[in-house]
Amino acid sequence: MKDPCAHCEEMMQPYLDRILTDEEMARAEAHLAECELCRRRYKFEESLRVYVRKTVVEPMPAELRLKLASLRIPLE
């Protein structure tokens, strides 16, 4: 029997990057609607990306902002 999830792993990144064709997208959506495991794995991947982005952001130090402004070339 053909494994319905045979291509799910390779489709996940392109799916989340939104670079699938309309037809591939429709097929992926249809599969996700009926396969709980894939749905969870995809959802996890999406949550991970959002979480990583949110977590690693460090505000720019205030002194750096001042230093950058001081690098401007003065008008003659």
């Binding site: 792993e9 990144q13 969870r40 979480y51 990583v52 977590t55 952001v57 230093k67 070339i73």
Partner: protein, 206 residues
Amino acid sequence: MAHAGTVDHVDAEPEEAEAQRVATEARDRVRFEEDALALSDQVYRVARHLAGSREEAEDLVQETYARAFRSWRQFTPGTNLRAWLLRILTNLNIDRGRRQQRAPQMTPLETNDYYLYDKLAATGDGDVADEERVVERLSQDDIVSALSAVPHDFRDVLVLVDLGDFSYADAAQILDIPVGTVMSRLHRGRRILKRELAESALEETT
């Protein structure tokens, strides 16, 4: 001819034309500097994880702006200034001793894309139903150190696309590599990140 007429006019008033040119250029330069400074938060955010440490990131951003302000004439107005600044920054970063690291290793990776989720789900206390909660088991330290463990060539792409929101095409232009290479390095970088995260998350639970 209209064109010849313009030239006559310039010849007639050379000093005035020169003053006009200088004023226009000064205005363009001030606008360029202001536009570039307005992007500094976004530039720092990417630089922070392209570089190994906060100090290196600060140095890199300063060098980038110093160079950008000097060579502002090379920027084509109307094109992507953020990508232009990041291109300067990644080149400076590569110049800082990363030259030897040319061809990234492409040895097979034993983990797949689901590795981290499967590990976390297996060690959870039954709350795997909520994938967003599962993610929150990873600490900020876990993520920052996992990211810094991703080799440079993969991390550059990962940071530009996943943290900096650059398109594949912009990342390709910034790093001067083909779009296909951006995609393969991105995919691999994400897998390495997840493998590193799985390792640190498992250490904590055992």
